[in-house]
Amino acid sequence: MSEVLAKTEAIVKKGKALGADEVLAKTVFGRHRQTRFSNNQIDIAVAWNNYVTDVALTWNKRLVATQIRNFQNTDKIMEQLFKLAKVSKENPMYGGIAKGTFNYLKPTADKKLQELEDPAEYVFEAIEAAKKEAGVEVNTGGILYAKYEDVYLASSEGPTGQDARSAIELSIRAFSQIDASGHGVECCSSLRDFKPFRAGEKAGKIARLAKNPKQGEEGKFNVIFDPLFFGSMLGTWGTMASAYSVMIQLSVFVKKLGQKVASDMVTLRDNPAEYSVSNRVFDAEGFPIQENVFIDHGVLKTYLHNTSTAKIFKTKTTGNAGLVQPIPWNIEMDSGDISREELFGEVKRGLYLTNTWYTRFQNYATGDFSTIPRDGIFLIENGEIKQSWKDLRLSDNALRLLSQITGMSKERQHVHWWLEAEPPSLSPYVLAKDIQMTRPK
């Protein structure tokens, strides 16, 4: 057993010795590197190292949690935490944490990301790719982020294990004019698959096509969503599938289990698989991660659970435990059976939306929302990009959007950027009919 895992287990033992019912400890030694750039130059290179143990403790259905840094003052902190549990209030709904011992998949983290110190070349590669597409005058900005985490988990209820998680992400936005831009991302769990030029190329291409945008028109349009845009929506639906969101009505899926919530073509799953930037082998309770289909051919099949919410909903955990609430890891949308080009060919007159931000709801329970497309907004006629537009807003309903989907491409992209496409997702190009667009007056 590693020294760190032994120390993590010692925290659990300390909690039990104090009289706790359950104790869960997860130590993460994280190494994070980020390079930020704008105006085609690097602004700052950043490193942050974390040495943190998350601890959750229960006593008579009172859940309290803390963090211990670098195993400093462990005994004192655990004593204070147990005292806090004793004066806390009972949560009658609390249903425990995962029990038993489990076999986990072997972690596949890329050790090269642990050693990555100067990733500037990847930034320059992406900038050059954007310039090739949009010309040397293109103005780019973005971030390159790499992480490597060693994770050690111990639980009084049985689970114990080690994980290693790695990711590298490049996000680049290219401006060919002040109001003409494109955005590309490249997200991988290992350096092996990481091709930063792809993100630069895509950002540059969209920026070139977006030049001289015209004021967009209001109305209902058939819309092709780029994976970057739709990844943002997949993240929204994934978060709404969390049982926690359902319990507090931050979801359109309340009381809809077993019901049709989307077009027949739509199958969504949560899967923190090996390729994903949120790859992992167990959740925060030490339950093995699994693939969960939560919308199957349009029908809502399950919510995403930890052990406690699963008990409330009389089902089993889906391996989505965060420390307090279930969270989605990586939302996948099943691909279609036609190419991207064929999907565009299905649009006689419509829009191609390449990215969005600032998605906000009037009402999470009904699903009324708006979001602001950014970067290239294109009018499509007879399957071809006809014109660049600007200043439009998608103002519709999240359930209605799911039901209006009529096609997906074979091609899919793994996307994640900032908080706008969070959690990460794997999305095809998606065609939806009669989507409401509005503009300022």
């Binding site: 190292n49 803390t66 209030k89 936005r173 509005t438």
Partner: protein
């Protein structure tokens, strides 16, 4: 609240700075934060979890070789301090910039500052915190209103900071801050409506006396109930729109505070939070008209006990009120030392970081429209046909901060100067210039709402106030 075993180790922070200065640096700083943090979550009437942590760490930022390097850690050893400094210094060479980064000149400052507490948070036992919060929840949920879902989260941060730099600054500070977020769903005949409310201030536990959360949440629940029962949609068209202080505040924040951030103007946030309709060589710059001449919007970190209060920013610059739009004219950008150097000016103390593990960047503090000389009644009584949008639900704005939309939460029809029935989700979708150019009446009383402003990558949520008086927009399109 967990008690600190030992206080922030200033000697180690000084050691890290001295070690950084031993290298060929143009500038170096070390910033340490130690935060005692409590978070209580009450979900549907039960305490879901009580999280209590202490997070203590420090960062080093170095300007050398024309580039900036930053590194942080939460491991408090000399060996780690050296590693962090070495990393930050090495990272200054990564940029290989053509134009070198410089900082606007400043003199070193040695000072201490803190926010006083009338009721010290450290003296409030955890059971008292739980009890007060649960009492709020219980009282507003026990009325004759069907509330199928609700959540309330209270976050308490006691943050001690120590900042030193190579120019001789040494600044110690202590800020206690409390924030509570509540989200409720009210249903009538199966139709749900939702509202959220955020309360926040710096200071002590007296915040709970001042907020009157029970009354505020009960008001929200009643508004939603009435909206479901009596709300009517508005007939779209041009009309006068009276905006409550919450709506004035969000518009001030989104369409004045954000576009006036100099890093955004210079493109440094272009791939995340975006750019601005103000940019070098563009149609809008300092001196350009953006609104009616009665519009003056300021950002002021020095509002006592505000959510965004500070006396010195995270680059050690003294805070002051900034006049962003003055008499309808773009007047002053929010600057840190890096942007100020690029724009040949001085920092106005707008650099903030939410953690030792994050670079300080240009941020707002408390952004609000200055008051006029109308009473709220006078603002309304002149309206023949219009809407009073007292608060908002959905909102968003494009990443140039020009095309924005606000949807009313509590809103009423105005006819011949009188408030009539509730209006269901009226929408204004307009431009920044049109919004501020349409203001023709401003009330005397300024109201503030707490908010958490998002910016930076990784995201740095930072406490702010957004506020202003009641205002009237003349003849705008509402749907």
């Amino acid at each position: 609240m967990l008690q600190k075993v030992k206080t922030l180790d200033k000697d180690l922070v000084d050691y890290a700075l001295d070690y950084a200065r031993s290298k060929k640096v143009e500038y170096a700083e070390t910033r340490a934060h130690s935060t005692q943090h409590d978070e209580l979550v009450i979900k549907n009437g039960v305490l879901d979890a009580f999280v209590s942590t202490i997070d203590t760490g420090f960062c080093v930022r170095i300007l050398a070789n024309g580039g900036l390097g930053f590194a942080s850690t939460n491991k408090w050893t000399k060996e780690e301090a050296k590693t962090v400094v070495d990393t930050a210094y090495k990272f200054t060479t990564i940029a290989r910039r053509k134009d070198k980064i410089t900082f606007a000149e400043e003199k070193g400052v040695e000072t201490k500052w803190s926010v006083e507490q009338k009721k010290k948070i450290e003296d409030i036992p955890p059971e008292k915190k739980i009890e007060e919060l649960m009492e709020v929840d219980k009282t507003f949920a026990s009325q004759e209103i069907k509330i199928p879902g609700r959540i309330m989260a209270c976050t308490i941060n006691l943050t001690e900071k120590y900042f030193v730099n190579s120019e001789g600054s040494a600044i110690s500070s202590f800020v206690p801050n409390i924030e509570t977020f509540a989200f409720i769903t009210v249903a009538e005949n199966g139709k749900p409506e939702q509202a959220y409310k955020q309360f926040g201030r710096s200071g002590g536990w007296e915040a709970f006396d001042e907020w009157k959360m029970t009354e505020a949440m009960l008001h929200e629940a009643k508004v939603l109930q009435k909206l479901v029962k009596e709300g009517k949609v508005v007939k779209p068209g041009k009309m006068d729109l009276v905006c409550g202080t919450e709506v004035t505040g969000i518009a001030s924040h989104e369409s004045c505070g954000h576009p006036i951030e100099a890093d955004r103007i210079l493109g440094r946030e272009m791939s995340q939070a975006g750019r601005s309709f103000i940019y070098p060589g563009g149609p809008f710059w300092i001196g350009t008209r953006i609104g009616n001449d009665i519009v003056t919007i300021v950002d002021d970190p020095t509002v006592k006990n505000s959510h965004g209060y500070y006396e010195y920013d995270d680059e050690g610059i003294k805070a002051r009120r900034r006049y962003l739009y003055k008499n309808g004219i773009i007047n002053e950008f929010l600057q840190n030392r890096e942007t100020a150097a690029k724009l040949d000016t001085r920092s106005n103390g707008s650099s903030r970081a939410n953690s030792y593990a994050r670079e300080a960047i240009v941020r707002m503090a408390n952004t609000f429209l200055l008051p006029g000389d109308w009473t709220e009644e006078e603002v309304i009584e002149d309206v023949k046909h219009g809407i009073y949008m007292k608060s908002f639900t959905e909102w968003n704005i494009d990443d140039r901060r020009f095309n924005q939309r606000y949807v009313g939460r509590e809103a009423y029809l105005i006819e011949n100067g009188e408030l009539k029935h509730p209006v269901a989700r009226p929408i204004i979708e307009t431009t920044t210039k049109n919004w501020w150019s349409s203001v023709d009446a401003i009330s005397k009383e300024v109201g503030f709402d707490a908010a958490t402003c998002g910016k930076g990558d990784p995201m740095q949520g930072i406490p702010v106030y957004a506020g202003g008086p009641v205002i009237r927009l003349k003849e705008v399109y509402v749907k």
